[in-house]
Symmetry: C2
Subunit: 246 residues, 2 copies
C-alpha cells in the first residue's frame, strides 16, 4: 500500500462542497469514484480543508491510500481521465510517508477572496468572483482587516455549524489590495473556523462601502457574538490557495 | 434618435458566435432582445468584430441606434438586467456621432489567445483556454510568429468561408510570451481574415511542440495555400480584447 499526496484544482460551482454528501455531488466523491473505477479500491480521499458548496480550490492538498502498484504518473493521468466531466483536475501526485496526513499534518492554510469591483456584472468570471458594483474604499478595508490579525476569539466570525473545539485562532495575515478591477483579500492561518473567511470578507465589504468604520471590525471581533456579524460573503469568490506542511 | 457606443464583455461558450443565426443563440440576439424588451425598439446591434462560436470578448465595441430618450446609465443598467441569464455584460455606454460605426470606423483590432501549458487539464478555466499538455518552446514560437508580422497574403491562414475582399492584410503584432503556466499570444491588426488568429495559433503550436521549425511558419505563409495549414486552434482560448478607433 502506498499513501499518495495529491494537489487538486477544482471549480466548486457544481458541488455541494468538498465533503461527500448524500444529497448531492461533492469533490471528494468525484475523486473517490474515479479512483474506484481505476483501481477497484474504495478508499477515502482526505483533504487539508473541507470547502463549502461553491468554494473553489487552486491547489488543495489531499491524501489517499492505494493498495495496487501504480506509478505517480499513471495515477494522475488515470484520475484526470476518469474524473471527467467533473471540473476537478489533479495537478501533482507524489508518494508520501505512511503517517503523512493531508489534514492533520497541515500547519498552514491560505485562502484568496476575489471581489469584482466595477459597475457591470461579470460575464466571463461569473461564479468565480463576488460582484460589488459600488466603489470600495480599499484603504479602509485594509485598515479594518489589520485589526483581525493575531490570536483572537473569532466567535463573531464563526458559523453556528462550526465543529472546531475552540473559537480561538491565530490569523497570520489578512491583506486587502487592488488588482485591475478586482479587490483581492488574502488570508493565512494555521486553521480557520467554519465560514471565517467569508464572514470576515462580508464585514470588510461593509467597511469598503463606508457602512462600517474600520474600527468596527475590532468591535465586531470583541463582541464575540455571532449577532455582531454583518453577513457572509458568497462562496463564488473564495479559493483555497495552498496548504502548508512542515 | 441617439447612436450609442457600448463596450461589451461576453463568454462565448454558450453562443453560436456574435452574429444572429437561425439555428442557435448569439450574442447579437441576446443584446437585441434585451434592448427590445427595454425600449420596444428593434434595432441592429453592430460589433467591431463578428467572433465565432465559443470565442470570448473582454471588450467588444458595438453601436446601436435608440429612438427613445434614455440616459447612458439607464441604458447600461437596463441592458445588464434584461440580458440575463446570458453571459453578456455591458461595461460602458456613451453617446456617439451619428456616423460613428463600430465596424467601419474601427482602425485596429486586438486579440489574445490563452494556452494552458501544463500536464493537468483545466478545472477552473475550462472553456476559457486551450490545454496543451506537453511543454511548449515559447522562444521558437516567438521566432515563428515574428515571420508573419507585416503586410502579406494570408491565404494560408484564411477560412474557406472568409468573406474578405482580399487576403492581403497587415499584421502589426504577433507576440508570444509565458505568464505563469499559460502561453499567451497577442495579435494586433487593422483587420483579420476569418479564422486567421486561430490558424496562426494552430501553426504556432506545432512550432512550440517541435513538429515545425520556426521558419516553416514563413513557408506556410508563402505557400498561399490553405492546404499548407497545420490546423485551427480551438475557439476556447480566443478573446477579442479591444477595438481601436481614430
Amino acid at each position: 500500500m502506498t499513501r499518495w499526496r495529491l494537489t487538486v484544482e477544482y471549480d466548486g460551482g457544481p458541488f455541494m462542497g468538498w465533503q461527500r454528501q448524500d444529497h448531492g455531488p461533492s469533490v471528494q466523491q468525484a475523486l473517490e469514484d474515479a479512483l474506484e473505477r481505476m483501481t477497484g479500491e474504495q478508499a477515502p480521499v482526505i483533504a487539508a480543508g473541507r470547502t463549502d458548496a461553491g468554494v473553489h480550490a487552486l491547489a488543495m492538498s489531499v491524501h489517499v491510500d492505494v493498495v495496487r502498484e501504480i506509478t505517480a504518473h499513471r495515477l494522475r493521468e488515470g484520475l484526470n481521465a476518469l474524473v471527467r466531466p467533473a471540473p476537478v483536475s489533479v495537478l501533482t501526485v507524489e508518494p508520501a510517508a505512511d503517517d503523512w496526513h493531508a489534514r492533520f499534518s497541515c500547519v498552514g492554510r491560505r485562502y484568496l477572496y476575489r471581489i469584482l469591483n466595477r459597475r457591470a456584472p461579470p460575464a466571463l468570471e461569473r461564479g468565480k468572483v463576488w460582484h460589488i458594483g459600488v466603489d470600495l474604499d480599499v484603504a479602509a478595508m485594509a485598515a479594518g482587516a489589520a485589526m483581525l490579525v493575531g490570536r483572537h476569539d473569532f466567535t463573531t466570525f464563526r458559523s453556528v455549524h462550526c465543529q472546531s473545539d475552540s473559537p480561538v485562532k491565530t490569523l497570520d495575515r489578512l491583506d486587502v489590495r487592488h488588482k485591475g478591477d478586482e479587490v483581492l483579500v488574502e488570508a493565512a492561518a494555521r486553521s480557520f473556523l467554519h465560514h471565517q473567511v467569508r464572514s470576515m470578507v462580508g464585514c470588510l465589504s461593509l467597511v469598503g462601502r463606508g457602512q462600517w468604520r474600520p474600527d468596527e471590525m475590532r468591535k465586531a471581533l470583541e463582541a464575540r457574538n455571532r449577532a455582531a456579524l454583518g453577513f457572509n460573503a458568497p462562496p463564488d469568490g473564495l479559493y483555497f490557495v495552498k496548504a502548508v506542511y512542515p
